[in-house]
Symmetry: D2
Subunit: 366 residues, 4 copies
């Protein structure tokens, strides 16, 4: 779907700018009768909200979500759900300097060229603040998924910050919420803190890689050929601010494998087919197989930095630009809950699409 | 858009199976009055067609495209264009063995689980033969692009086969059509021939990385936030058979960069803004900037190989599976013209979307 | 959905011109495992095909439909179904006279203005021949409906030809296929034969009103607010060639009713709620209630007539135009099976949409 | 488009219930740089708002619209525009009686059957209060149309209330805003006042017919075959609460015409082709011809009346139902500005669609 709407059947339409009065989204296509309250959504927003550590922007936003429609007496009605988050800590004067200047690596110039007229304050519509709406919609998707597929579990975490990777042998899901980086490796998390401090104090920023895994995904989700589960995930993750690459399963590394290596061999287990590996990342032919769905995406470094960079402005003058304001030194950190939200949205959308076409009936094996 | 339709305004809807009587697509939303004949499309299909070297499947298909509607007296009418390619060299008996067995790493099992009932012959709908329809539709898009943006140029090539990369210092676009691999590095192409021969004779296959570059793309294409140019490219490329990752510009490598490194600095040149680098791959905030649009994707190795692999069948029996039939040892090779076609489709779609919203007017600099 | 695609989830994309080599459609979103063959579709096409009486065009077309994809071993696979009908009796020379002239009341001038370039032969894309593709797609929808809602029954018939109406007290569904007008009133059918003969010989044509009723429609179909069952029916019927009005239930007459009269009162019957009348035409708030869905549409008289009319041509010259060629004196007749097909498409589409959102669970009464 | 979104390119997504905290819509696809403020929208909302005469509901709502996004420094930015209207005069206790009862002729029972759970207060989502959002979005469309096609003019009015019609010989556009009925015939307006008073005091309600005419519509708007201008208008108008029929041009009456009568003959005038009549209502083959676009729709009588009617409730009990609360005795009155808004939305949507496909270039005559 185009423009500001995401999803085929379960859809969100987002609106709002970084420094406008509010932002939000309309969630459409939600099944009726699902328990939903603001308290169900707020925890997800709290994971993404700014100002929770020195490693994120110091803008202070409660990111309190309000449900304005589509829920009655604590349950969804099946009609469109409006979610609104008021902006409370805009400090637009920070942006006077860049009203007419284009930050290198930032959407500024692209919006200027396309639209002619833009809200430059805090990046306006191109700000990652928009992702608060995604997280809110993702929260609705999670409530519905919890009702329809109780075992399904979505986990996002950072596996690389700049040049520093986690050590997969130390992977501990219990660590993810214990450090400011959603890092599943406690040792790496400690190193990253020093690393990011150093970069931050040097007026620099850095990129990251996020991995999102969905377990207990029913087989059969995905609509070949242009609503494949993986192509929809690619679109979903690439639409997140600053994302430059998306991988499924082996991802780029699959290019270096042979067919013998890449084959996810199968045996029969007590509960049906068991795969001996998961190079495919849980998706074959665009359809989920029942294995964990594994998706990674790369987030480029924040383009708003205090180090001067060569730039131009709308008057066509060459300038050296320093970006003041309050910015994340590693915008990848707060992309973790956003990636989880997009995974939830895509999976629910395809669960409903599949229910429409097949009634959820699965082909038999054995 | 869902299922078998791709695109927002300029759309193709594809149909057909590997061993059915024919396959094709409907192209909708095409501007009227554009010169179009079968001869305009056939060269692109010839680039993708099988059997052109020992490095592709030995199935012999002329892949002759017929225009059944939407063109009158040599020009498009603005109505839906039907493109049909007849299958002529089906050899379905090759597939008797796998009618009820699931090749590891192949869509077989996923289609079985989702649909219960499938055309197993040659992979049926999941076959890469479907991409012939994309190349045909991409040919239509190229004709329209040539009329609307004459300088725009799309070039695809292979930059990695298995563990072997090209040497960018030897990059020569003139070489791309001079070897069976669409390889821009003549030395690498020679090495790849030996490498792939070896793998092929060892009953193995291998993955690849394709890069597609579009030059002279107008600034301003892309519809934030869920029809971003990069998210649509990601969806487009990920929808190609066997693709497991998509990168824009620096791609995964952007995670390891700092903000200082990643900034594409700008100066004023004789024709306006000039960027000093292109880490962004020509897209900022989901919108083209006028720089070359750079997209890469990884293709996994062909899953149909003659080396036995552990598998299961529909009866729930464990088997050792060898896949006979005629298969590409490196399916990435023929993905090159497909990637180009998808780039053409996405760019034209966004050119029309932008024309609708902005009338093609651009913000001024200077 | 826009342009040449109809439907939200169960979609058809049609293509082809009156005098091109073939026409057809792609049916997408079809559930898998449904029995389907050309023999299932042909009877519906035979109802619509030309040349079956002196009251329809004398063009001779077998309208033989071929299934080119999406069906394997007699059952749908869930992938896109391509249906093709070859044109065999084009007589394009009939149209030389009107290549550059615009028939009053015909799409000629509108296509000319919009597209500049058009296939004028037999009306090209604007020809009612396109409806053959709809009837074929409607046949697929009927097969699926028969599998999912066996009792559902769709019946179309003509209730008015020109100034002559049926007498509802003589309504006999058994008569519908017993006369060339799909007329449920045998007496009226006899009168219409004389009436139409007279008009035909006077080189004139006439309009009609078609009614399509669907019985045993499950309650709960329809997606407020912009995919209401009635708004989708209105769009569906208005898209048929020459249709100028669509009514649901009381239709235009509801304007003259009071609230007391219009209330469809309810009592409890042995099988649940019973309505004492059906002014609503089975739809309230855009959602089916379980009552028969009643839709009517008006078809204007054929614009291609042998009586000279004042017209202009592309050169801007004033002319008196007589339209030769083979035309239906009452194009409404053959619109009956088309209206049925559109009803089937809309109902199935909403059945699948509803299944996606609610799982088909209904609110309880009692 | 499905569910709560209307439009192909210029789209509105509406949300909100009659007695919730607020309602509104997101307008997407708006061209950038168009002057827009709340003051531009409010006059349209004031035309529709309740409580302006004794002939509409006595609920008092200011219907003050707020723009929450998509506009910066008084001009649209091309990003999604959020329009919000707070509800201030809910009196939900009025609805306690019908929480579990189904009003005859009302959406109550349909929503109950489909969704199981619904907001019954004031009709919840099925309330005509939703149309305030349409009028707001229509106001945005008008601003854009005024910028792109300054001469285009949309006029809606009531031509029939119950059994009473206007006299077309007394048609005076200047009267439309001079009476509480949007009636262009001052004599009829006077009669209607007495007529409706009588019905209202008799605890009854009545239907109406609305006509909406758009003048100076550019030729060439409409996307055959499933985004025809008339089929989109039909869908648009039929989606308005209580509408049961839609007519274009001659509408239902075209069935009674002969081809000779129905032909809109053409001559050349000083500014090009002139039509001698407009039976077609400005649309041929689904495409505008440049003549006035004429659309009519019938609104059924309000179903909420004080006269007892036989009904049932959720417990399956038979009841006699009187609907208290504040209701319009002729809901058709306030449908006039809604019909105008839908016309504006459809025309702008097709203007943008046409600009995308053809660039707005028209075929030449002469």
């Amino acid at each position: 779907m185009s423009l500001n709407t995401f999803g085929h059947l379960f859809r969100m339409t987002t609106w709002g700018e970084s420094h406008g009065p509010a932002l939000g989204c309309t969630v459409d296509g939600c099944p009726p009768g699902v328990a939903l309250s603001e308290a169900d959504l707020q925890p997800w927003l709290d994971l993404r909200k700014p100002g929770t550590s020195k490693f994120t922007t110091q803008r202070r936003e409660a990111d309190a979500v309000k449900i304005l429609s589509g829920v009655f007496e604590g349950k969804t009605t099946g009609t469109s759900i409006q979610l609104m988050i008021e902006n409370t800590d805009q400090r637009s004067k920070d942006y006077g300097d860049i009203a007419k200047a284009f930050r290198p690596g930032h959407a500024d110039i692209a919006y200027h060229l396309k639209y002619g007229h833009r809200d430059y304050r805090g990046g306006g519509r191109s700000s990652a603040r928009e992702t608060a709406a995604r997280v809110a919609a993702g929260g609705v998707a999670r409530q519905v998924l919890a009702a329809l597929v109780p075992d399904l579990k979505i986990t996002g975490y950072m596996v690389q910050m700049g040049v520093k990777h986690i050590d997969r042998s130390r992977f501990d899901a219990g660590q993810i919420r214990e450090n400011p980086f959603f890092c599943p490796d406690a040792v790496a998390a400690g190193e990253w803190a020093d690393y990011l401090d150093e970069l931050r104090l040097a007026h620099n920023s850095v990129g990251a890689v996020i991995e999102v895994v969905a377990e207990q995904v029913p087989a059969g989700l995905g609509a070949p050929l242009y609503g494949k589960l993986d192509s929809d995930l690619a679109s979903a993750m690439m639409s997140i601010n600053a994302v430059k690459a998306v991988e499924i399963g082996e991802g780029m590394a699959s290019a270096a494998l042979t067919g013998v290596e890449n084959a996810d061999e199968m045996r029969m287990g007590p509960d049906g087919v068991e795969f001996l590996s998961n190079h495919a990342g849980g998706i074959l032919g665009g359809i989920s197989t029942g294995q964990p769905v594994v998706c990674r995406f790369a987030v480029k470094p924040t383009s708003s930095i205090l180090t001067p960079r060569q730039a131009v402005n709308a008057a066509g003058e060459e300038i050296d630009l320093i970006t003041k304001g309050r910015h994340d030194p590693c915008v990848g950190i707060r992309a973790v809950p956003v990636g989880e939200a997009m995974m939830a949205l895509v999976l629910l959308d395809h669960l409903l699409l599949d229910r429409a076409q097949t009634g959820g009936v699965r082909g038999r094996i054995g």
